[in-house]
């Protein structure tokens, strides 16, 4: 075991982690730990753009952006946080430009902007051009640009280090720690993939920026590595997760594969059609049609298929039609996604419509934070020195449904804030002692997993989880379907206790890490489903067919899910999810019916 000491440790090297590192590494001794190489992070898969009211091509202002974000999130957004994000968006884009990001340009040389779902002029009048973009590779350019700047600043990276535990000075799981009592982070425990060695990183500040958890579903736009590690391990240490029942299903995944086709396609004029060739979004969102927010479009698509108007031999998808657009225009603005259609489905988008179906894309919920990225352990108490930003966090700027482009914005605005806050905290705080045997829990888990001679195969348990979540907790949910999912998860968690891995080695043992990741997925899926069962209403990305309307009287509140020991008669070590609630911060927008 090796021990390291840094003022700030950042976990994750996607957009949020590297944006944080750029702030903190100049101010405090900083290390960035990533389970990949920085440029492999899934920020690079984001396509369409990053919204900011630059007003480069038409009138716009950050207040409209705030309103769209709040309405898009079906009023579960904390409005003070949305205001911060929309205001700081403008500098966030300009910062990236100054770092060298190759944005597309207007004829007069400014950053070009285009339309995106749910982003409107003057509180919903019509779609507005707000998304700053670099073809359909905006995420790739952000990831590369931030990495370039990290190289310039000589940021210390620990590549292919899996963080498997967070160390606190107080056990939050055994008993309730009273509000007001200080709880402080002490560091993290990491596993070095190349050698199998355990590393303890002692730190004054720890920033989680570990991204999403799309792999709880079978059909997803997410990378294989998006297994919710940061969320799961903070949850296990007693920190709550907020609003986890809100998962976004992106409307246009390549049918059967889930690979993302950017909403920018519709921003550039593409149209969704059913098997009759009908532009069905006219019926669901008469004003902005195909550019309605993602939750509405995804449900409309699923509904078309359910009512027999799906296309294809099995009538199980709809069509994204770009054939009326100029090929030169498509080639210039959407080169990557048209290539995806050609490569993976053998479809030529210039002449044939592309089969698409919703794909699990983005988790609105996550580790609860303040607008300065401080992690909350209750509705009001922060954990000293612990921060989170990006998809793994819940500020909450996305509420129950994130608008397209607001995730690239989120990682830049709140990644920056996390880096600043982490460095400032480290500058004024004392070192906290490490617990005795800081790596004991991680070592025990790894040894148990590696030591089991025979047992369940990891992939069998994972596949069963993903299939159950797709079948029971996707676009349409009912108490019955969610009960089925929960029953499946309970059984799968038992089966997980007996999994074994074939690779018993110490060097580059990805077999072992996949087993660990599966444990994270199971815990998170349980929180998603328990939250979805309790939320007996439909709001944003969470749609209950048995409760099809929004219920502000009973559910205009955030869900706070805690993992706590199960009752006295349960198996030792068994846990259960306990739910609590947190009020939504409302500043200037009272909830209204959400129409587009």
């Amino acid at each position: 075991m090796q021990t390291h000491q840094y003022d700030v440790v950042i976990v994750g090297a996607g957009g949020a982690g590297m944006r944080a590192a750029l702030e903190s590494s100049g101010r405090a001794r900083t290390a960035v730990l990533t389970k990949l190489y920085p440029t492999r992070s899934h920020t690079g898969a984001a396509q369409g753009g990053m919204c900011a009211a630059l007003a480069n091509v038409e009138e716009d202002n950050w207040e409209w952006h705030t309103f769209d974000t709040v309405k898009g999130g079906d009023y579960l957004v904390d409005q003070d946080a949305a205001e911060v994000m929309a205001k700081e968006a403008i500098d966030a884009v300009l910062d990236l430009e100054r770092m060298g990001l190759p944005f597309n340009r207007t004829p007069d040389g400014k950053i070009d902007q285009r339309r995106f779902g749910g982003h409107t002029r003057n509180h919903g009048e019509a779609a507005v051009r707000r998304a700053c973009y670099a073809a359909d590779r905006t995420g790739h350019m952000i990831l590369q640009t931030l990495y370039q700047q990290c190289v310039k600043q000589d940021v210390a990276f620990f590549n292919e280090f899996y963080v498997l535990d967070v160390l606190l000075d107080t056990d939050l799981t055994a008993q309730e720690v009273p509000s007001g009592q200080a709880v402080t982070v002490a560091g993290v425990v990491a596993y070095e993939l190349a050698t199998g060695e355990i590393h303890v990183f002692r730190a004054k500040s720890v920033v989680f920026a570990t991204g999403g958890a799309g792999k709880i579903f079978k059909t997803t736009s997410n990378a294989h590595t998006l297994t919710g590690d940061g969320m799961a391990l903070t949850l296990r240490r007693g920190i709550p997760l907020e609003d986890m029942e809100f998962f976004q299903f992106h409307p246009t995944g390549l049918a059967g594969l889930g690979i993302l086709l950017s909403e920018a396609a519709r921003g550039e004029g593409a149209i969704l059609r059913n098997s009759d060739g009908e532009r069905f979004m006219e019926r669901y969102a008469p004003t902005i049609k195909d550019l309605a927010p993602r939750d509405i479009v995804a449900r409309a698509m699923a509904n078309e298929v359910r009512e027999g108007r799906g296309a294809g031999p099995n009538k199980d998808y709809v069509l994204l039609d770009l054939t009326h657009l100029e090929p030169a225009h498509i080639e210039a603005k959407l080169p990557d996604i048209t290539e995806f259609a050609r490569t993976y489905l053998g479809i030529e988008p210039f002449t044939e419509p592309v089969p698409v179906y919703p794909t699990a894309h983005y988790l609105m919920g996550g580790i609860p934070t303040t607008i300065d990225a401080e992690v909350l352990r209750t509705n009001t108490d922060v954990v000293g020195g612990l921060f989170a930003a990006g998809e793994c966090a819940c500020v909450s700027v996305h509420g129950s449904n994130r608008l397209g482009t607001n995730s690239l914005l989120d990682i830049n605005v709140f990644g920056r804030r996390a880096g600043l806050a982490a460095a400032a905290y480290a500058a004024t705080s004392e070192w906290v002692g490490l617990p005795d045997d800081p790596a004991g829990a991680v070592v025990g888990e790894l040894e148990r997993m590696r030591g089991a001679a025979t047992g369940e195969r990891v992939s069998d348990v994972r596949r069963a989880l993903q299939e159950s979540m797709d079948a029971n907790a996707q676009v349409f949910r009912t108490a019955e379907s969610l009960d089925r999912a929960l029953a499946d998860i309970v059984v799968l968690k038992e089966r997980y206790r007996t999994v074994s891995v074939q690779d018993k080695g110490t060097r580059f043992n990805t077999d072992l890490l996949e087993a660990i990741e599966l444990g994270f997925l199971l815990d998170l899926a349980e929180v998603v489903v328990v939250g979805a069962l309790a939320r007996q209403e439909s709001r944003g990305g969470h749609f209950r067919e048995d409760f099809p309307t929004r219920d502000d009287a009973n559910f205009m509140q955030h869900t706070m899910a805690y993992l706590r020991p199960a009752g006295a008669d349960a198996r030792p070590g068994a846990t259960q999810v306990r739910l609590d609630h947190k009020p939504v911060t409302v500043t200037r927008y009272q909830p209204m019916e959400r129409k587009y």
Binding site: T39, R40, D336
Partner: protein
């Protein structure tokens, strides 16, 4: 009707179903912890579907036949650059190569990319590759005070370096280069591509420094214009042309 019932109600072989076929993967393996570590070949036969990628077949092996098979992967659709490998002798991404596009009657031969030390099976040490990248100062260099708004750049100026902004640092190009195989000191195509991306960016003021670095004996002049890199690039970057443009800029000092 739920999704499960829909699936169950479908006939056994629905119209439009993708045909399945068997494919054999012949994989170059290396276990660093073996008693006497030597590379060897191992074959696995798996059932694949028409839309499956090479990566899908590799996952079938790892998840159902042999958990010790080791390779890097993440996004699985050609964006993250994790899974560059030699597939039938050619550098490609496993997630962007469809099995149906290879000859399924012959084994698909999978080897680690060449010129970088093998750690285990298909995993190589990427550090030398990233070290070369870092040496070319791959970041925007500007003088004076930063402007309060964006720097202006015309669409034509933006287009000048567009091709080389697409690089995902997968190392497919560099590890396909015969010069790099024989001389690990050579910067390699990927580093030059990333230098090109800034040399031809109208906002950048560091071109002279980068050209100086690449004028080194291990720099652009070692390129023998074999076009392996251009063939290997999964992003379709005209790598050889980019290198030629950097060579020309070095002579003419025009960029």
């Amino acid at each position: 009707m739920t999704a499960v019932e829909t699936a169950a109600a479908s006939p056994a072989a629905p119209i439009g179903a993708v045909p399945s076929f068997d494919v054999t993967l012949r994989i170059r393996r290396f276990d660093p912890e073996a008693a006497s570590p030597e590379p060897y070949w191992e074959e696995f036969t798996v059932t694949a579907h028409g839309t499956d990628r090479v990566l899908d077949a590799m996952h079938t092996v790892k998840w159902e036949l042999d958990g010790t098979l080791t390779f890097r992967r993440s996004c699985a659709h050609g964006i993250c650059g994790s899974d560059a490998m030699r597939i039938n002798g050619r550098n490609r991404l496993a997630c962007k190569t469809l099995l149906k596009d290879l000859d399924p009657r012959k084994p698909v031969i999978l080897e680690p990319i060449k010129g970088l030390p093998v750690i285990k099976d298909l995993v190589v040490d990427m550090e030398p590759f990233f070290a070369s990248y870092r040496e070319v100062m791959p970041f925007l260099i500007t003088g004076g005070n930063a402007p309060s708004a964006e720097r202006l750049q015309s669409p034509e100026q933006r287009a000048r370096y567009d091709d080389t902004t697409k690089c995902i640092l997968c190392a497919a190009c560099t590890s396909s280069c015969p010069v790099f195989w024989t001389d690990g000191q050579y910067f390699g195509p990927a580093a030059i591509v990333n230098a090109h991306r800034f040399i031809f960016d109208s906002r950048d003021e560091g071109a002279a420094q980068r050209l100086e670095i690449l004028n080194d004996k291990e720099g652009v002049w070692r390129c023998r214009t074999t076009f392996n890199c251009t063939d290997a690039c999964p992003r379709g970057i005209e790598v050889t042309q980019a290198i030629a443009e950097v060579k020309r800029a070095m002579i003419t000092r025009a960029f």
